[in-house]
């Protein structure tokens, strides 16, 4: 199992920073979370709520015709931490194969050095998000 390049890079970026700057980087991720594609915005039923997160965040994982993964997420502006978590994963999973996603260690969120900046309890929300993304992807693969 090797960590996909984008996620590895994100981890290096976080770990290179001091605790306060890690929060700023998380905020940048939060601001970069794209709007949902309209095909999902119009179909809230397709989205799955991540119950492990304290704020309302919904994700949808897509497996395209070429077998590549795209993760979409939406969370309110009042929940920047959750948006940041979703953005890290959405960017990190973008364009990977299903096998590559399954290979991401489940404790990846704990390895970003955010425990100190954000608290371990809050980081759990991101772990839940990754777990749900993988589960959705297994369902997509099974259905493909």
């Amino acid at each position: 199992m090797t960590l996909p390049a984008r996620l590895a890079e994100t981890r290096e970026d976080f770990l290179a920073l001091g605790v306060k700057d890690r929060l700023q980087l998380l905020l940048e991720f939060s601001n970069e979370l794209p709007e949902l594609p309209t095909r999902y915005a119009d179909h809230p039923d397709l989205l799955e709520r991540v119950l492990e997160c304290q704020s309302p965040v919904y994700i949808f994982v897509e497996l395209d015709d070429d077998g590549l993964v795209h993760m979409h997420a939406t969370a309110p502006a009042e929940s920047p931490t959750t948006r940041g978590f979703a953005s890290i994963l959405a960017q990190g999973l973008e364009g990977l194969t299903a096998e590559e996603v399954f290979g991401i260690p489940d404790d990846y969120p704990q390895s970003l050095g955010l425990g100190e900046a954000v608290s371990p309890l809050r980081v759990r929300g991101m772990t839940g998000m990754l777990g749900r993304a993988k589960r959705q992807l297994r369902e997509r693969v099974a259905a493909a």
Partner: protein, 299 residues
């Protein structure tokens, strides 16, 4: 050097009107010497997206807790924290936050453990300030560190531990969690992460009064009359009662502690911060399930 009190008519009805300020009051007093505004949120990044001009941030997870032991800061750590935020012992501190001031009330309660004299809440919190179209900024405040004295934390007056609760049976207990948590159907708030209690239910004899019943739809506190109807009328609390409030980790019950202590004037209210994450996992403590309060265990 404390700032004048807010003389709003609504507050005058409360037992301690000096513990609240309105958004109008704060808008008028921002930037006055001797006043520090503190934002304390559930979301650790929310402050960074925009805050009341000049406000400093205090995060409960990363700043008010001891990094190792499940406990609050000690006197030295608290002095260093407050000094670094430009708060002196005689500073008027106004705290506000997201989610109806849960975390703001929690921070205020921690300040109380250290006997900080003049600490107030912004009625309506962050949401009301923003809803009213008042200014927010992402500019970092200019903070001049000051000296804050080392004061020993006093856990006797407003804080209860598990053993205190065990010795409390027969006196009023208030469970401020959601009805589902109270009955034991779940061990965490609806839609919130599982925080690891091994059993569901409530402390026997505790009355269920979800914290949110004290809040109006705009996040401000309900009026004195409305609050009296709930806590004195429905629950039956009476003057002189010794009350312990709890929730899951002590944050929502800080909100209720604030209401009972400062708005309704009960003088012996303690917050059990170990709350359900401790009680629901502790060995051999009594638990009741369902809607009934349950019986106090025989001694």
């Amino acid at each position: 050097m404390s700032a004048e009190f807010d003389s709003a008519a609504k507050f005058a009805e409360y037992a301690h009107p000096e513990r609240l300020v309105s958004t109008d009051w704060l808008a008028e007093h921002l930037g006055r010497p001797g006043l520090v505004v503190v934002e304390s949120d559930e979301d650790v990044l929310l402050y960074e997206t925009g805050h009341i001009p000049g406000a400093v941030k205090i995060d409960w997870h990363t700043e008010l807790n001891d990094p190792v032991v499940r406990d609050y800061l000690n006197g030295e750590q608290f002095a260093a924290l407050l000094g670094s935020k430009g708060i002196a012992r005689d500073t008027t501190v106004v705290i506000y936050g997201d989610k109806n001031n849960w975390w703001a009330a929690y921070a205020l309660w921690v300040f109380t453990l250290f006997g900080h004299d003049d600490v107030r809440l912004l009625d309506g919190g962050r949401d009301l300030w923003i809803a009213e179209g008042r200014p927010i900024t992402t500019d970092a405040p200019e903070v001049t560190p000051v000296e804050y004295p080392v004061v020993e934390r006093d856990d006797a007056v407003v804080r209860a531990f598990k053993d205190d609760v065990l010795a409390h049976f027969g006196k009023p207990l208030i469970d401020v969690r959601s009805p589902e948590e109270y009955t034991g159907e779940r061990t965490h708030m609806p839609a919130y992460p599982e925080e690891g209690a091994l059993r569901g239910g409530h402390i026997p004899t505790a009355a269920s009064v979800p914290w949110a019943r004290a809040a109006a739809p705009d996040g401000t506190f309900k009026t004195r009359e409305e609050l009296d109807a709930i806590y004195r009328g429905e629950v039956g609390l009476a003057a002189g009662d010794d009350v312990i409030a709890y929730c899951r980790i002590g944050e929502r019950s800080s909100h209720t502690w604030f209401v009972l202590t400062h708005l309704l004037g009960f003088e012996n209210v303690r917050n059990y911060d170990g709350s359900w994450t401790e009680w629901g996992s502790a060995v051999r403590v009594p638990i009741a399930t369902g809607h009934e309060r349950g019986e106090a265990p025989a001694r």
